[in-house]
């Protein structure tokens, strides 16, 4: 095993463990903090994949925004911050079945793909991933339309949120 594989395994275990803690802890604030740890683990995986831009954006968007989620969590919690109701309902087996089937389906599909067991070639020296990404996102022959549609969608969501929250005098 190479050093990168060891680091990947440690980070992946950390991410999965934190994700498990998010759904099992009964303290809402702790759940939000474990979520931060999970998202940070995902950022480290991006960094391991040589996607520095994605890693930094992951931290900016998710951890920066999770702080806000944290505030909402504080505002929504009751005084003792604990919930004693059961954490699953009677449909838990159906959810587990769907999750297992999805995972199996993904593995099955990916096994038919030629790139699944191939080692990625090294990134050439001086390869500027950000310029490439920026050009792809603004080029009419590439992804400018999905990019703009996504931003219009976000703007619509923003306007909608303001309209719902707006207090008519």
């Amino acid at each position: 095993m190479t050093a990168e594989q060891i680091i990947f395994l440690i980070v992946a275990l950390f991410t999965l463990g934190s994700a498990l803690m998010v759904v099992t802890t009964r303290n809402l604030i702790h759940a939000a903090l474990w979520l931060v740890a999970t998202l940070f683990g995902v950022a480290v995986i991006y960094a391991l994949l040589n996607a520095g831009f994605m890693a930094v954006v992951q931290v900016v968007v998710y951890i920066g925004a999770i702080a806000i989620l944290f505030i909402f969590a504080v505002m929504l919690t009751r005084k003792d911050l604990r919930d004693n109701t059961p954490q699953t309902n009677k449909n838990w087996w159906a959810g587990a079945l769907i999750a297992v089937l999805t995972f199996a389906g993904l593995v099955f599909t990916l096994q038919g793909w030629s790139g699944f067991s191939k080692t990625a070639s090294a990134v050439p020296l001086g390869f500027d991933a950000i310029s490439q990404l920026g050009e792809q996102l603004t080029s009419p022959t590439a992804y400018v339309l999905p990019f703009e549609v996504a931003s219009v969608l976000l703007l619509a969501a923003l306007v909608g949120a303001v309209y719902v929250a707006f207090n008519k005098k």
Binding site: I29, F53, V56, G64, I66, A67, I68, F70, V74, D128
Partner: protein, 396 residues
């Protein structure tokens, strides 16, 4: 390659040679050397931090027409060490009902969010932690961790004043991150890269002269991000006792305090890097890397001094006014400035250097002037409205 031209690489190669000479694995030796480099940088920063306490106290004393610490050691230089001994031997209290793990993690994260920034600071052309091509965004990412540490401290202390302080600080940091991010785009537009070193290399003319308005807005956003006066609502002593760090004592409080000072110095450094040419000063940086470091430290100190100057001469602003100032004035202004800068940059790309600088400077002045005029007319209308209501009330 000789030590005086590229000290980091030579020292690292020398140490790796020694480690592998002892029969150590080459990969392990490399990891160990990198780890030692990080350790050395953090140690130097922490020692610098101790003296920043002395600098801060001396400067505030001068602003308030006092002498400042002058009893312990020459010019009171030993004073911070006495303070540290006091902080260490103080009783370490944990409030009843505190969330212990989160409570103890918060000061560490707070300090970490500052130290991690130095990973992307280019100290000299050949000396920098990592040559990250998203260095500018890294600044915001580290700020997100700082925000998190404050809300953790505020919540876990089980104290309503700490909680309110934490809420306020997060509201301010999240709000002022928007104009800061927009202003970070302006050096990016000029340099054509988000890499810190590339931004410095592009500053044949300091970006301050090309875009003074951007430098000013960045400074305002940085001060808000630091939570220093006039934006220090989170620790409004008259209403919140001490804000989010109220329950912390001893060295845990010391971590927040030292973190804030180092953060201010670091933002002074980033101000210098983004708008004042970083380690560049009339070609002196080419002479020796050590001279380059000295230039950067002097510029960072000047930036830090400006931040202190603002802190000790301005009054605290009310929270709603501060957020209104950000969302209704600073954010639209910074977005307008980014649009104008991008447009002008495209128009003037092929032009002479002097035409480019003049055009950019003038467009900045125009944008700033229009923004001030709009703000003035809005303020006049608001004043008339309030005074009109008052006049009617007085009449009845």
């Amino acid at each position: 390659m000789n030590f005086w031209n590229d000290p980091l690489k030579v020292a690292a190669a020398w140490l790796e040679g020694i480690f592998t000479g002892w029969g150590m694995d080459a990969v392990l030796a490399h990891v160990l050397v990198v780890f030692l480099g990080v350790f050395l940088l953090i140690t130097i920063l922490m020692v610098l931090d101790i003296f920043l306490v002395w600098i801060e106290r001396k400067v505030v004393a001068r602003f308030q027409d006092r002498i400042g610490p002058n009893r312990v050691g020459p010019y009171g230089l030993i004073q911070p060490f006495a303070d540290i001994i006091k902080l260490i031997i103080k009783e370490d209290t944990t409030p009843d009902g505190a969330d212990k793990v989160v409570y103890n993690l918060a000061p560490i994260l707070s300090m970490m969010s500052v130290l991690i920034l130095w990973a992307v600071v280019p100290l000299a052309p050949v000396m920098l932690g990592i040559d990250l091509n998203v260095g500018v965004l890294f600044l915001i990412a580290a700020g997100a961790i700082g925000t998190l540490s404050i809300i953790m401290a505020g919540w876990s202390s089980n104290n309503k004043f700490a909680m309110i302080g934490g809420f306020r600080q997060v509201a301010v940091m999240v709000a002022f991150e928007v104009p800061m991010l927009a202003m970070l785009m302006i050096p990016t537009i000029f340099a054509g890269s988000m890499n810190m070193n590339a931004i410095i290399e592009a500053q044949n003319v300091w970006f301050f002269f090309i875009s003074p308005l951007a430098a000013l807005i960045f400074l305002i956003a940085a001060i808000a991000e630091l939570g220093r006066a006039p934006f220090d609502l989170a620790e409004g002593e008259s209403e919140l006792v001490a804000g989010f760090n109220i329950e912390y004592s001893g060295m845990k409080f010391g971590m927040f305090y030292a973190g804030e000072l180092l953060h201010a110095f670091t933002f002074g450094g980033f101000w210098a890097i983004l708008f004042f040419g970083g380690y560049r000063f009339f070609g002196l940086e080419q002479v020796s890397p050590f001279l380059a470091i000295l230039i950067l430290v002097i510029k960072a100190m000047l930036g830090y001094w400006v931040i202190m100057w603002v802190k000790y001469t301005m009054m605290r602003i009310r929270i709603d006014q501060m957020l209104g100032f950000n969302w209704k004035f600073l954010t639209p202004l910074s977005f307008a400035l980014v649009l104008v800068t991008a447009l002008m940059n495209t128009l003037l790309r092929g032009a002479d250097s002097w035409l480019f600088v003049t055009g950019m400077f003038l467009s900045n002045v125009v944008v700033g002037w229009i923004a001030l005029e709009i703000a003035r007319s809005v303020a006049r209308k608001e004043r008339e409205r309030v005074e009109g209501v008052k006049a009617v009330e007085a009449h009845h």
